[in-house]
């Protein structure tokens, strides 16, 4: 069920310094979030699609990554064209929709996908643990980062426990239905997972104090920035300035 995505380390984005990658992604996302002009979002699209290309991703994976965002977008398309007041245009027979409503839905669709493309290029080229370390370097509270590490570390262990338990249930003839019996069985399954992880937490903590843990974590790894990283980041920033220029200065479209 859970699978860590294999990262293609040969791509340019994969070798891009994770700290700069995060800063770039955050700046970009915030910028697009406040933008309202389609032309500016078009420029943003050019940057995010370039980043996706530099990530060496398969087309299919990109589409898959965009799916969750677009399920929400489609949900909104059912409402916005009808719920915004404005000039009515005829779509099909008696069905009409407002031009303003469609405009809003289009804007949201563009923004959501452009931002998600950038996020995909970040998520698909950065190891989760590396992302955590980079966030720590960028000043995220150390408690939060360590919490993040432990959560990620044990997701896979607990998931395999979950699969074992569920298989054991299936072997004894359990078929999920819409019934109280099903819900109670799932409740026990969840309860068992939680209790086991509670016990595991105790053992992990014991193993850590056996190795002298006293509440402080030390880290071995560091990042090294190269000139190439600076160039990529610089280009990203320049392009974001162009986006801002189109949005606020030229005010095109």
């Amino acid at each position: 069920m859970l699978n860590e995505k294999a990262i293609d380390h040969s791509s340019l984005m994969a070798r891009f310094d994770p700290r700069l990658k995060i800063i770039g992604m955050v700046l970009f996302s915030v910028l697009v979030a406040v933008m309202e002009r389609k032309a500016a979002i078009g420029f943003a699209f050019l940057l995010s699609i370039t980043m996706v290309f530099l990530s060496g991703l398969k087309f299919r994976d990109v589409v898959k990554g965009l799916a969750p965002v677009n399920s929400m977008v489609i949900f909104l398309w059912f409402f916005l064209p009808l719920s915004v007041n404005g000039v009515d245009i005829r779509i099909l027979g008696p069905l009409t929709a407002s031009r303003e409503g469609i405009d809003l839905a289009v804007l949201i669709t563009l923004k959501a996908n452009v931002m998600m493309l950038m996020f995909i290029s970040f998520a698909a080229t950065t190891n989760v643990m590396t992302a955590g370390q980079a966030l720590a370097c960028l000043g995220l509270p150390s408690k939060l980062v360590h919490l993040f590490f432990f959560t990620y570390r044990y997701i896979f262990v607990i998931e395999s426990e979950f699969i074992t338990l569920r298989t054991a249930m299936a072997i004894r003839g359990f078929v999920p239905r819409t019934s109280v019996h099903t819900y109670r069985s799932y409740a026990y399954l969840v309860g068992m997972l939680l209790v086991r992880s509670w016990d595991r937490a105790e053992r992990v903590y014991r193993a850590m104090i056996c190795r002298g843990f006293n509440g402080t974590f030390y880290s071995l790894s560091g990042f090294a920035m190269t000139r190439k990283d600076g160039v990529i980041f610089g280009v990203m920033c320049l392009w974001m300035m162009v986006m801002g220029y189109v949005e606020w200065v030229v005010k095109a479209f």
């Binding site: 859970l2 915030v30 697009v32 909104l76 409402f79 931002m115 990620y152 969840v190 903590y205 509440g215």
Partner: protein, 208 residues
Amino acid sequence: MHISEGVLRPEILAGTAFLTAGFVAAGLRRIDEKEIPAMGILSAAFFVASLVHVPAGPVSVHLVLNGLLGIILGIRAFPSILIALFLQALMFQFGGFTSLGANTLNMALPAFVCWLALGWAGKPETGSKTVGLVGFLVGFFSVFLAGVMVGLTLAMNGEAFYPAAKTAVLAHVPVMFIEGVLTSSCLLFIRQVKPEMLAGQAGKKSRW
């Protein structure tokens, strides 16, 4: 329900992110350095449990379990949920980066409220009938409130979003009942098997 990127207006994103940051900081202050392994492993268990799909008539819904998390973790549910949502974004592209604050607030605030109102039931002396009832209420209201929060967040985006907001709230209704039944049995299970797990935040004492 995750609100995705690009939907909410910047001022709503900023406001919810600000509130979430405050609650997360408060939650972190409540976690002792030595409790981090335990908190992380429990968060991982919740992350996995929330991927479980249960049948609901013709479709299947995934569990939320934010109420249960609130009862066990108290205010520390905030950092735990933030991390879970961030991981969901990284691993499955659910939600996204800019909407992280809003989504965390929508899930964690109900968890926190349930703990404030009903957290006392985790004390070991509480009878099993009471725990069962409280479990149902926790499961029911944590999802109900989460639905209302999602609806409110969307509605704040502008009048045009009202119909979508209402539908989003309604979509939570079947899940409320399922989570109620499930959380009830789950609390009873934990009460029987590992009562100290519930007692921790009921007495607000640390584990070790």
